[in-house]
Symmetry: C2
Subunit: 344 residues, 2 copies
């Protein structure tokens, strides 16, 4: 499952030679599929849909509820709370830079953001709509949405449908990029952008081997449309003591989708971007602090017992990956006048 | 409980004489108490707090969850859903123009926005914090909040406390004003801003008597700091058939607070501003459409059976009260790094 990469060495400003495709600055723009180019009208529609709780059965949950754009793109919880107080099984991944992931969801069950966007709407413990038709029926009753879909898909005869809704949400998400972290500034040549400790952490993640999986601009492996999915087993080296504490293996990961033995406890490699803001950690959100997450990862994946100093260096480096969050205007949700279609 | 008002007649542009203090344009700015003047720093802090779900025990509910600023200032639901899927007992009032209400909550149990803001945070079925100290403890751990409170209250020695948090939220809410509805334009002299039907509706609400309670710039009675609270019994004229359908009297309204017999089924008079966007209607949200709400109100409060034409005229007039919603930037919630304090 490991992708073997050419380890061409690149001399940076530290005297240390880093592998050329391990560390990369984040592009300012995300790639988009050919059949869904990014346009301002689609981005605007997608933003409105993303924030609209009327896409949930009882009007309480929007995409933003669990993937909060005003924060680290998640909900600070171990696992999310969906409709009627129901708890989900996995930690909400951040929406920020999700456009750079090869596959979506922890288990990679959606190949792209378009496919991902449709899932939670009809998931009974997330937004709880019985089917997509009911969601589209609701939107069709709102004149402002009819207009927004027309503008976003001017060539479509019947633009207001679930595929176009998903495409618009995916388009908005492709604008949720956080470039210009201190790490990115360093990569672009500003030697002073990182502290000595952060550079030590950067060296450590490569030397110890973390970057065998966490590499590239998003630290999650290949980026771009059609990029090779980057899966890995977790834990690689089972450990009874850690398992007792965090119960990592109960969830069978990608196996739940494929039912192949080789996919047991296999997950998509997660991004390191803004990881300082997305506690708690791991697929079940069992680990509260980044310090502990780093130690646990090193032990379970690489059988390395990090020293406290190494841990602090790596945490410092990971904190340098917090990017700039683009300012945005708050959307107005199009009006349904004089009535409501929300049921309990 | 009715406030008797001087009925000085004012000739508008229609030939019809309206009572002078019945119909008024909405001011561009809301009044603020002397000890809590509106400042940009307080407004900014208040906005951030308003959107922060970390003010709820399990991180799932913010002020905006039920009083959605991106929509009509409420949640389109009969009654709101708070923490752990618990349903509240009353319909969420709109936050828009709430600064013009004489008292807060349906039963008037908070005299002002400052007092109101504290309530839901520790309400066990709303945001569910055990006490305000825990909320303040959380905020104190977030460096960005420490900074925002310092900036908002530069003269305070220990600015980060619950009273200052409530003052900031109230300040933000005082900026949530929707002036320049078509009605307001009409009142300011633009004769063409209202249609003939809307003007018929405007005359009707006065002639029938709705404006005995729903008068003034906010159609909720006296506005301004220290303004006389405007309470009224509902239903004024009990009606078995309607009661059977909508179960209005089960909730004892202000009596639940005062335990005085005269306060049974008494409520604060609600605003008409943006009422087209705040379905469903009444304290228990039992009525889905504005048409039906208008008919029910006329029958229960004034013993008037409206014709279909009268109803449509009044609904048309009420739709002219939808204002302009000020554009705003989306807040960034200050970061807690490398850990979370959210518990289940």
């Amino acid at each position: 499952m490991l992708v073997f990469r050419s380890l061409v060495m690149l001399s940076l400003f530290t005297g240390h030679a880093f592998a050329q495709d391990t560390f990369k600055a984040l592009p300012d723009k995300a790639p988009a599929p050919k059949d869904n180019p990014i346009t301002p009208a689609k981005t605007e529609l997608g933003k409105v849909l993303y924030f609209d709780p009327r896409l949930s059965h009882n009007g309480t949950i929007s995409c933003n509820t669990c993937h909060n754009v005003m924060a680290g793109g998640d909900d600070s919880r171990a696992t999310s709370v969906g409709i009627n107080g129901q708890k989900g099984g996995r930690n909400a991944p951040t929406v920020w830079n999700s456009a750079f992931l090869g596959v979506q969801f922890w288990d990679g069950r959606a190949p792209d953001l378009e496919a991902q966007a449709k899932g939670p709407i009809t998931n009974p413990i997330e937004m709880g709509m019985k089917n997509h038709d009911i969601a589209i029926e609701r939107l069709t009753k709102i004149p402002g949405y009819v207009e927004l879909f027309k503008k976003a898909y001017p060539k479509d005869k019947n633009p207001l449908n679930i595929d176009n809704a998903a495409k618009a949400i995916a388009t908005y998400e492709r604008t949720l990029i956080t470039p210009n972290s201190r790490f990115d500034k360093y990569m672009k040549g500003n030697k002073k952008a990182l502290t000595a400790q952060e550079i030590r952490g950067m060296k450590a993640v490569e030397e110890i081997g973390c970057t065998a999986c966490h590499y590239g601009a998003n630290f999650s492996g290949p980026i771009g449309i059609g990029a090779e999915p980057n899966y890995h087993k977790f834990p690689q080296n089972p450990n009874k003591e850690i398992e007792k504490k965090y119960n990592f293996t109960e969830d069978l990961g990608r196996y739940e989708i494929t039912k192949k033995d080789e996919d047991k406890n296999v997950y998509r490699v997660q991004t390191w971007r803004n990881v300082a803001l997305t506690a708690p950690y791991f697929h079940n959100g069992a680990v509260k602090t980044l310090d502990e997450a780093v130690k646990v990862m090193a032990k379970l994946q690489l059988d390395v017992d990090l020293t406290e100093a190494q841990t602090q260096d790596i945490v410092a480096f990971l904190n340098s990956l917090t990017g700039e969050f683009p300012k945005q205007t708050m959307p107005r949700l199009p009006e349904l006048r004089n009535t409501t279609f929300i049921e309990d």
